[in-house]
């Protein structure tokens, strides 16, 4: 899949290629502080009625948290956004795996990124990925992406 003239030239310039990346390379970090408006829209978009994401009394008194919680699937979605922003239009997300390890509250600064752990034949690149709050990993995972080659496809 090579870009044609209709592809966004600014995105094309930043398109990573298989030959350009090495193990140990870090992908650009996405930094997000989720607020309750974003949480509301994400719950609506995912048909998620769990009170723990919008009912503070329920979150505190029934489930024992300090506040409403950022949805785990929103953490995962932001992590996949960091990947698909990086791989560009010619890249493809092949595999995505995450574990829910710790919760996040709205207003906290979260960072989403990854580091390349290996390159395989046919353009596949493996990464360790993460959602972190400061030095704490809230959501570790792994991903595989396909990157275009500089050689003709």
């Amino acid at each position: 899949m090579s870009p044609t003239s209709s592809a966004d030239p600014t995105r094309e310039e930043t398109q990573p290629h298989y030959e350009d990346v090495e193990s140990g390379d870090e992908i650009p970090v996405l930094s997000v502080s989720v607020d309750e408006t974003q949480m509301f829209f994400f719950s609506a978009a995912t048909y998620n009625g769990h009170r723990i994401h919008y009912d503070k009394d329920w979150a505190r008194d029934t489930e024992g948290y300090d506040n409403v919680l950022v949805q785990g699937p929103l953490q995962a979605a932001l992590l996949s956004r960091a990947l698909t922003d990086w791989i560009g239009g010619a890249g493809r997300l092949v595999a995505f795996s995450v574990q829910n390890r710790a919760i996040a509250y709205p207003g906290q600064r979260l960072t989403f990124g990854g580091v390349i752990t290996g390159k395989r034949a046919d353009g596949l690149v493996d990464l360790d990925i993460y959602c972190m709050r400061g030095d704490e990993v809230l959501m570790p995972g792994t991903a595989t992406v396909a990157l275009p080659s500089k050689a003709a496809p």
Partner: protein
């Protein structure tokens, strides 16, 4: 081992069986609302000319949105007390291990989904294993789901897990 199992025979019998089938239409407005809620304005999800420039026949559904395209509809009166719908989980109750938490999810994406695709998900119980952790015994349940389009093409395979602990 004389300790009573946390897994009741009824749940154990579900290993290898289909516990949920759900279908739904992939709709670009829905996935674009999801993407906007993530702050994800990737033109592959929004701009047909851009997507065609990379060999797709139109804009594509964000890979992680696919799991929501098959969710059903639940009446307000049928919600659980915590507000969740329980739609399409194929969830199981473990009376001896009622505290549940999501474990993780692992998905392999094979083909993109397009607006108007009819997607069917089939979920089977892959395993139910009792384990001993630092904080005591727990049950690890693993499901495997397949997503296929109206041409029976495999779009994605997902493995999800849940941990259930004694009260």
């Amino acid at each position: 081992m004389s300790v009573e199992s946390l897994v009741d025979p009824e749940s154990a019998a579900k290993v290898g069986t289909v516990v949920a089938v759900a279908a739904g239409e992939v709709c670009r407005r829905d996935w674009q609302r999801w993407a906007a809620a993530v702050g994800d304005h990737n033109p592959l999800w929004f701009d047909s000319d851009y997507a065609r420039g990379y060999g797709y026949r139109d804009i594509i559904c964000p890979p992680l949105y696919l799991q929501y395209a098959i969710l059903g509809v639940v009446a307000l009166g049928a919600l659980r007390p915590d507000g969740s719908s329980g739609a399409v989980t194929g969830s199981m109750a473990f009376p001896k291990a009622p505290r549940r938490m999501a474990g993780g999810e692992s998905t392999t994406f094979h083909l993109p989904a397009y607006h108007g695709d009819e997607v069917e998900m089939t979920r089977t119980v892959e395993s139910i294993v009792e384990k001993e952790g630092r904080s005591g015994r727990f049950v690890l349940v693993t499901w495997r789901a397949e997503y296929r389009n109206q041409h029976r093409e495999l779009l994605a395979e997902a493995t999800t897990s849940m941990i259930a602990r004694p009260a």
